[in-house]
């Protein structure tokens, strides 16, 4: 690079010494092109200083997590492996002893060897049986009510039939009795008629008084 370019760069960086400043000014006086370049640099610098920075529109800054190369604090360095080992052991024990943790109705239950599961099954079975019992009781009550109703209906129909049948039989019996009595009376009338005829014939054939004993 030429001297004037070097001086120009130093001037832009604000690092001109006194002798360099003098040389720079001489270049400006002698070299028109250099002077114009300097004037333009001043103009650009001025415009750049007058530039008002524009506000940044709203934007979503990405959230950051721990970086891979980040240094960890002492407690993390010491505690993390132990904590990790401890948690692994706890998980192992929980699997081996079939530990079950249940939260039900605000109560925390810890059980071992699947007891919790059996309790839960038992509880569910009991609930199902109780529900079934209730259903059966309702069904039985409905059934007995229907049976009672049916029996009442049958009794009522039977009573009605019996009353009707006895009334009819009585009527028939009376009719038979009256018929018999009428028949008897007719037979008696015929008998007495024959007796009178017979007596009449005897009277005409034998005008003597008939003995009292022949009557």
């Amino acid at each position: 690079m030429s001297d004037k370019h070097e001086l120009f760069a130093l001037w832009l960086d604000g690092q001109l010494s006194a002798s360099q400043q003098q040389a720079f000014e001489q270049f400006c006086a002698r070299d028109d092109e250099f002077a114009r370049q300097v004037a333009l640099a001043k103009q650009v610098s001025h415009a750049a200083k007058r530039y008002e920075e524009q506000p940044v529109p709203n934007w979503q800054i990405p959230a950051i997590g721990p970086q891979p190369g980040a240094s960890l604090s002492w407690w993390r360095l010491r505690a993390m492996p132990s904590l990790s080992f401890g948690m692994s052991m706890l998980a192992l024990v929980m699997v081996l002893f079939r530990v079950e943790v249940q939260i039900q109705s605000g109560a925390l239950t810890v059980s071992f060897a699947g007891q919790g599961q059996q309790d839960e099954i038992r509880r569910q079975v009991d609930a199902e049986i109780a529900q079934f019992r209730e259903q059966q009781q309702v069904l039985l009550a409905d059934y007995s009510r229907e049976m009672r109703q049916q029996q009442q209906d049958v009794s009522s129909q039977l009573t009605s039939y019996l009353l009707t049948a006895s009334r009819s039989e009585r009527r028939e019996d009376f009719a038979e009795l009256i018929k018999f009595v009428n028949q008897q009376r007719e037979d008696d009338q015929q008998f007495y008629a024959r007796q009178f005829n017979k007596l009449q014939q005897q009277v005409f054939q034998n005008p003597e008084p008939v003995a009292q004993e022949n009557l």
Binding site: F8, Q54, I64
Partner: protein, 180 residues
């Protein structure tokens, strides 16, 4: 007065402290957004760039060694994302000084830049190549030294100075044309 340093916030953020991370982002999001605005001339592109930059920072925070300032590291990432952004947009256009990026979608006039001089400068900057524009941006707006810019762009200090000198020459022509 009791503002936490970048290093402190980074350390906390790396251990998973989300509040520290948010504070760190909020400290620099305006600078990165305005860098994007000046480099692309488009608010939507600047917003995309802002999100990509902080996503990269988020992914690479563990690789920040604290050898330089966080701001310089952040702007190095921003420059890389900017290069990728222009590669995506101009897949077949080489990114060298001979092929200035003429971004048809840049719409500086739609930006609410109050100062006319600043607005014209940013409009003229859009006609520079990406490398020239980056040097002008980092030197005049972000106020980095040549050494810092060289480190961020991964080139020598002399290359940065040369790019700035050439870029200013191009800007002079562009601004003269605009003022004519």
């Amino acid at each position: 007065m009791f503002e936490q340093s970048d290093e402190k916030l980074i350390s906390k953020a790396m251990s998973g402290n989300n509040a520290a991370w948010q504070k760190l982002v909020k400290r620099y999001d305006k600078a990165v957004y305005n860098y994007g605005l000046r480099m692309t001339g488009n608010a939507d592109d600047a917003m995309d760039l802002l999100q990509e930059v902080f996503l990269s920072v988020f992914r690479n925070l563990a690789s920040f060694r604290g050898e330089g300032s966080f701001k310089a590291w952040l702007f190095r990432i921003a420059h890389h994302r900017m290069v990728e952004f222009y590669r995506r947009k101009r897949d077949y256009q080489p990114l060298d000084e001979e092929n200035p990026l003429m971004d048809e979608q840049s719409c500086v006039s739609r930006l609410t830049i109050a100062d006319a001089e600043s607005r014209e400068l940013i409009r003229a900057m859009q006609k520079l190549s990406l490398e020239q524009k980056a040097v002008v941006e980092l030197k005049f707006f972000s106020q980095f030294t040549f050494e810092e810019i060289a480190e961020q762009l991964g080139v020598s200090s002399n290359t940065v100075k040369s790019r700035l000198y050439t870029g200013l020459g191009k800007l002079k022509e562009l601004m003269e044309v605009q003022y004519v």
